[in-house]
Amino acid sequence: MGLSRIMDISQRALLNNRSAIDTVAKNIANVNTDGYKRRRVDVAQLIGFGQVTSYTNRENMTRIRNRFIESQLRNEQHKLGKFQTSEMLLRNVESIFGEPLQSGLNSVMSEFWNAWNDLGNNPENPSARVIVRDKSVLLGNTFNRLYNDLKGLQQEVGVDISEKVKRVNDLLRQINSINGQLRKNSSSDLLDQRDSFVSELATILNIEIREYSDNDMTISTGGRILISKDYLGEILMEGSYENGFANYIFRLNSGQEPLVISSGELGSLIAVNNTNIPGFVQKLNQMAFNIAQYVNQIHRNGYNQNGVTNVNFFKDGITGAGDFAVSEEVRTNPDLIATSNVLGEPGNGTLAHMIFDLQTEPLFNNDTITNFYHALISQVGSQVQEASFLRESQEMILQNLKNQQDSVSGVSLDEEMTHLIEYEKAFQAAARLVNTADKMIDTLLSIV
């Protein structure tokens, strides 16, 4: 074995340790990078007896990871996305209803009924009529406001949905192109990048992932493939309108059958858009429709001070909260408000009292209108509470999983420092080796 051999080995050792220090540097540089998985240089047996069996290069690093935790993490991420979004949107709905504020429907309705009672007590009093008219107009405005605010919220949600769908399609394209590059050569950086795209995708919708040993990846949602070796899917969105409220359905470019997105941010947006908001609006409509219907029914049979009868108090043909309003003739002329159930008895307030009584009558499948509304508010509240509770526990779960992942893949500065010193010492030793070999060669040469 010649002396030059020692030089050769030392040179490789120097290279080797430098690249290890490089890796340490990279790890330290990325200590706070989200989704970065720490690298480790594979130092295989560098020096064998008599020959070099392997040497390192930059790409001979391993990303330290735990696939099991990663797949668990992805399975939990979409739930957090779903609960977070649901909580935020439902809180919005709750604040639109604005209970128990003075401007909330509850207190506006109370004032409306009480105005009728006061009018019934003083049927001849023109100012009591004006108050009934004003409270009814306020009731109408409140119903309209709730309807329009819910509709506005739904439109915002619709915009969010189309943006999220666009983002999903973007991500799918990017992941697909990374897959293509990885097929040609493997790169830790590309793998990291793909991981972060996949992680974003997993927050937006529920996906199932299959990773193959050659780094290829298949992604599917709800049993439908989004990305595979030879297919890149695109989510298409179609909207239909019912009573002015949009309903969205989705499909893939590969087929006609609808794609069900049940979880993730997108899943929650879709559920709020297609189910929750229309559900609340439908209940409001039912309330508005019933109030208009029953009040009109009683009112038409009554007589005002001048014996005028068959007047609709609320607009004819009200379908719900959106078009709920006092009829134009009553609004402009409150004298038309009927109070008596008998012709020619201006002092008779029975009819107004009958309208007051509507609030305690079971107009909604054995429920009073007040209880019906209270149930609606409770429903909103408990949905918010549930989403908030689930979000909190989901945050804990994710926190835990991320900690587990970081425990394996995260960068520890202490550890890197230790490695740095370790490699530095080794580097020094290798340098010393070169030095020694050099001296030995000098010594040999001086003999000559």
């Binding site: 706070n32 009672n117 009292h353 409770s378």
Partner: protein, 293 residues
């Protein structure tokens, strides 16, 4: 388990954020004094409170109705009292007229006094309260329900009941209709009396005397029915007031903050927050680098 930088940062951030959040929640309950502010804070309690509030509001409406009803009943009562006094003076004149020592001209003079009383009584029965005739039933007429021509009184109102709702599905009738007044024969008795006096019909006057005495009793009867109605109204009002006091204490129980508890809790949260901040400042600085030279 390896503990890495990002784990330390994450849990520090989460803890600090968590402390901040619970501090702000407690702070919010302290500053508003309410534990349940919206439905999502506690849907069950919120809906219970809403129901209590609704009942309270309704009770308040009933109490307003009772106040209104009492005004009406008090007014009717004092009018009947006046009518009763009128009847008493009529009775005195009648006794005077029945005295055989009095002559025809005295009786004619007394007859005109009776006419005056009759006018006055009709006036009383035509009294308005807050723009409505008390004894007109549900018929509102511009000139008042009773019209008088000479000594003949006609009633133009009806026997409609004026009601006030004072509890769930419970109404009270608060008016005495003109028809009830007519049914006491007050007007026909006075008319007969006046005629008898004017025509110097001693027998007629004697007959009228007994009917006038009966009349006083009938008016008293109407008064006492108003009295018991008044009783009922005040009893109901008391009951509603007690019910509302109870309801507001239920509501306060459900949604109000126990300040002592809340402040103690706030202090505990603040302590935890300070501790978390302290740990953060220490832990983030702790690192092998500090010891490598």
């Amino acid at each position: 388990m390896r503990i890495t930088q990002s784990m330390i940062t994450r849990s520090l951030l989460q803890n600090i954020n968590g402390n901040r959040q619970s501090m702000s929640t407690v702070q919010n309950t302290i500053s508003t004094g309410k534990e349940v502010q919206s439905s999502s804070d506690d849907p069950v309690r919120f809906s219970r409170v809403s129901r209590f509030r609704k009942t309270m509001e309704q009770n308040q409406q009933y109490m307003r109705n009772i106040v209104d009803a009492r005004g009406w009943v008090d007014m009717s009562g004092s009018l009947l009292e006046d009518v009763y006094n009128q009847i008493l003076s009529v009775k005195n004149y009648t006794v005077q007229a029945a005295d055989a020592s009095n002559n025809e001209s005295t009786r004619a003079m007394l007859a005109s006094k009776i006419q005056n009383h009759l006018d006055e009584i009709v006036n009383l029965f035509n009294t308005q309260y807050l723009g409505r005739y008390l004894f007109g039933g549900t018929m509102t007429t511009a000139a008042g329900p009773f019209a008088i021509e000479g000594d003949t009184v006609t009633y133009n109102g009806n026997s409609g009941e004026v009601k006030r709702r004072i509890a769930d599905n419970f109404d009270v009738v608060i008016n005495i209709t003109g028809q009830q007044v007519v049914d006491t024969n007050i007007f026909s008795s006075l008319k007969n009396l006046r005629t008898a006096m004017a025509t110097n019909d001693l027998d007629g006057i004697t007959t009228a005397l007994s009917s006038i005495e009966g009349l006083a009793e009938q008016i008293q009867g109407l008064q006492s029915s108003l009295g018991s109605l008044k009783n009922q109204l005040s009893m109901t009002q008391n009951r509603l007031e007690i019910s509302n006091t109870n309801l507001s204490s239920f509501i306060s129980n459900e949604e109000d903050v126990d300040m002592v508890e809340a402040i103690a809790k706030y202090n505990a949260e603040e302590l935890a927050y300070r501790a978390a901040l302290k740990t953060a400042s220490e832990a983030l600085n702790l690192n092998l680098l500090n010891y490598l030279r």
